[in-house]
């Protein structure tokens, strides 16, 4: 995979307070990357520096080919438009400002608006738009000039479930031909369309890798055993010297540093006189990883 963007020691201080603290990462072409972290982790500040709106205190953002500003599309968390313009006028203006020739700009603007689902509203004034429509328009102005890199700040957080689904599907389509970097705190979305994860906490990049890699690192093999009745579950706990915690018909066994070991667990299970319905290994969801990373000191 070819590298598109290289970020080196990116740092931002506001009045002496470090908001983003020396982060390094690269983005490969046509991949999508989720920037996740708790509120105040520096996600928006990082994106702002990538767009060039905010000057880094230290460090650099380098696009491998071409000028950065000419090759990005940016969607802020709460995009604000000039209310006097229509959706088509705004999108067309966006395209022209990025150097698309006038005739082509109009055609592209129309096509893009249809793509984001605003085909019937192209000539309406933006002042009359709802939140969801504005978000779609925001995406259309970010992609109309076919940028190499798409930066999205919380693209779906403000939408209702239906709108979220639609926007996510849009982004999945775009994924084929564009590099996408988006921030989010909705982890299901990140799980759904991400090649790479960037975990920010207090301005530092604390986890970095593919979803699979990060998962491997945090995956502690926890097991759940299902019994037929609550009584049996409790009995198992007593018999096996409190190997786990009972909750209804289930016993949850947390394995920390190989304790209890697999042999121990199987040993207890084999000695148990009743039938066992299920023994399963649980993989950590992104949410659990998120909580662990967010709390890790």
């Amino acid at each position: 995979m070819t590298t598109l963007l290289q970020v080196t020691s990116l740092t931002k201080q506001f009045a002496g307070k470090v908001v983003v603290d020396g982060i390094d990462f690269t983005l490969a072409e046509n991949t999508s990357t989720a920037l996740i972290g708790p509120n105040g982790a520096g996600k928006t500040t990082t994106l702002s520096m990538l767009t060039g709106l905010l000057k880094p205190t230290y460090g650099s953002v380098k696009m491998m080919e071409g000028d950065l500003r000419a090759n990005i599309g940016f969607l802020p968390q709460f995009p604000q438009f000039h209310p006097w313009l229509s959706a088509l006028e705004f999108t067309e203006m966006a395209a022209k400002l990025n150097g698309v020739p006038a005739k082509k700009a109009k055609v592209e603007a129309q096509k893009t608006l249809e793509f984001v689902g605003l085909g019937n509203d192209v000539n309406k004034k933006i002042a009359t738009f709802s939140g969801g429509m504005k978000q779609r328009l925001g995406i259309s102005q970010a992609i109309v000039h076919k940028p190499k890199l798409l930066l999205l700040d919380e693209p779906v957080s403000a939408l209702d479930p239906v709108g979220r689904r639609e926007v996510l599907d849009l982004l999945k389509d775009l994924q084929q031909e564009t590099t996408i970097l988006y921030s989010t705190h909705i982890l299901n979305d990140a799980e759904e369309m991400t090649d790479q994860l960037l975990f920010l906490r207090d301005g530092k990049l604390v986890e970095y890798g593919t979803l699979h890699e990060v998962r491997e690192r945090f995956d502690e093999p926890n097991y759940v055993v299902e019994f037929n009745t609550e009584k049996e579950a409790e009995q198992f706990i007593l018999q096996s010297e409190h190997i786990g915690k009972a909750k209804g018909r289930y016993v949850y066994i947390e394995i920390i540093d190989e304790k209890p070991s697999m042999q121990e667990l199987l040993h207890h299970l084999s000695k148990f006189p009743y039938k066992i319905r299920k023994v399963a290994r649980q993989t950590a969801s992104l949410e659990e990883i998120f909580m662990k990373v967010a709390r890790k000191i």
């Binding site: 709106l53 966006a94 022209k96």
Partner: protein
């Protein structure tokens, strides 16, 4: 000047659709017609209002047409400028504060082009406004008092327009440099305090932009000391260009102030 045409079109659309090309000229037209009318009908107005003691004789001054134009310009100088400046002082700063600037600033635009597109639209609104104001004032003056000589009248109009360009450049520069509230204060202080200082020490300080509105009138009267006029005009043009340059610079420098 990348993107200049596109940005100019956007600014014109906004000014047009928010009726700025209609209501500001209307204000100026009303201001322009008020002086010739009220002065001409002063006696009738007083009689109609009543309460004039029996046998009271009032001597109203004989007014020349140019006196009425001067009075109208006096109106433009206070209420007119107030309206224009208050309308446009948020032109850049409000766009930043609301976040509307963000979607434009991330694109490869030239800040010089963006600043100039705003300045040109403001100037056009200003031009149409004082044109309406002058036309209204002159029309009623000609009907009620007497005629002007066309050449000096046109010269006077463009002298006032040069002053207006300076006012608008100061306003837009402040908007680029500060937040709206500070920009408003600073622009008003420069323009209106300048007028006050000019009123106090203007006799000794003959070369300044604040002199131009008066010099325009003196052109019609034919009492203008031409070297003072040319120096003031030149100084105004230079200061306007300086304001535009500073404004472009601070607009770019403050780009990160835009709400994201």
């Amino acid at each position: 000047m990348r993107g200049f045409n596109v940005l100019l079109q956007k600014e014109f659309r906004e000014a047009w659709r928010s009726w700025k090309f209609l209501w500001i000229p209307l204000v100026f037209a009303l201001l322009g017609m008020s002086d010739p009318l009220t002065n001409y009908y002063m006696m009738d107005i007083l009689n109609a209002v009543g309460n004039i003691p029996e046998g009271f004789e009032m001597l109203l001054p004989e007014l020349m047409p140019v006196d009425l134009l001067q009075a109208s310009i006096g109106q433009f100088q206070t209420i007119g400028l107030l309206v224009l400046m208050a309308t446009f002082v948020g032109n850049i700063s409000k766009e930043r504060a609301s976040g509307m600037a963000t979607l434009l600033y991330v694109r490869p635009i030239s800040f010089g082009a963006y600043f100039m597109s705003k300045f040109i639209v403001m100037s056009t609104v200003g031009f149409v406004s004082i044109l309406a104001g002058f036309a209204a004032s002159i029309y009623y003056t000609v009907v009620l008092y007497g005629t002007f000589e066309i050449g000096s009248l046109v010269a006077s109009f463009f002298t006032y327009f040069s002053w207006l360009l300076f006012v608008l450049a100061v306003t837009l520069m402040m908007s680029a440099t500060f937040k709206t509230i500070v920009a408003t204060s600073c622009a008003f202080i420069v323009i209106f305090m300048g007028q006050m200082i000019n009123a106090i020490v203007g006799t000794f300080w003959t070369v300044s932009p604040w002199k131009l509105p008066l010099y325009g009138v003196q052109l019609i009267r034919g009492t203008m000391e031409m070297s003072d006029f040319w120096w003031s005009l030149m100084m105004t043009i230079i200061l306007t260009i300086v304001c535009i340059s500073i404004g472009t610079f601070t607009m770019k420098k403050n780009a990160s102030m835009t709400k994201i």
